[in-house]
Symmetry: C2
Subunit: 199 residues, 2 copies
Amino acid sequence: MSKTREKILDTAIDLFSERGYNDVSVRELTQAVGIKESSLYNHFENKQQILDTIYQELLQSYETMTLPLKTIMEMLENMSLEEFLELAVRNFDNYMAQPRMRKIWRIISIERFRDERAREFFNRYLVDSALEYQTKVFEGMIRKGLIKDWDPRALARETHGFMLFVYFRYMEFDPQADLKEVREMVMDHMKFLTQAIRK
Amino acid sequence: MSKTREKILDTAIDLFSERGYNDVSVRELTQAVGIKESSLYNHFENKQQILDTIYQELLQSYETMTLPLKTIMEMLENMSLEEFLELAVRNFDNYMAQPRMRKIWRIISIERFRDERAREFFNRYLVDSALEYQTKVFEGMIRKGLIKDWDPRALARETHGFMLFVYFRYMEFDPQADLKEVREMVMDHMKFLTQAIRK
DNA sequence: GTCTATACGAGGATAGAC
DNA sequence: GTCTATCCTCGTATAGAC
């Protein structure tokens, strides 16, 4: 990987995450990098390929993040409900606390309105697979008698819906945002949830 | 109001809500309307003014929607918790069930990434003022002893956060979406909430 | 790999005839 | 109010010298 290529990618992530792919011209991007427009095409075939590369990075980082469900179930054996929910929050938090990851997710949030692949990413990774995953976790908890016998799908929506709300409102926009307040809100939510479903 | 002007506005709402303001050219818009590009400028000063007009419509319709807080408090005198929450859901639902309103909110959702005013609209009307409003309602409920003495701000986030999650995931994209499933999810949520906070 | 120069289509907008 | 014709800028991208 050349230095210039990396710099193009970094700058693209910065700029695309601010105003979206279409609103950032190659002229502006290359100027911010400090090269001429034509030089960009030594590193990427075209503008679209820059975005593709960013998407790929997201995909890879996402797949290394989520723990296998089997591991989760094993952890549940030795953990209280509170401990487990706290862990779930910390996991999401760790991931979203990385400015680069937040920026890339922000690009996805913008592009999903015009780009089918971004929509895919968003719905699949940020929403549906997370819901499915948590549904299974709650199913496990119910089976073990840890929590009330509520519809696990509905419970998953209760947990994850709130996370997405928080993400949208407070984290999405300001890459430098102080996450303390956000964390407190999420913790409040987990407390609320715990007392509501504990048996 | 001329017929052509109305048609431009309708078409703009359709197209902008699909791909956003910047991705719809004046050429495309006027072609969809069935007039020449130059004719558009007899009805609007420029492209931006079309978007401004759409924003204004949203502002007006929103302000006629929300009931004064005083009225809400009076209604609380004669209603059960369930009835009240159901009413709140129906209110949001009625509003978002109008395809035109959903389209305009979708434009806001898209434009908030690049347009300060859209961001204002989104944060202020769709999130913050709704949270503030519901906080006051929950405060009233706690004072009346209808619900548990939980932080009313946190409760407002629990209710409204979920509504936004549902809006984002399921309503935002498909103007023709079958809202039945969405309503069921919201009702599940309200049931969950009710049993969690009822005294 | 980077530069200068250039192509060329698409974008928003205006002038002026009808 | 609508049309034809036209303008100018900005967008992505390429050719070819260094």
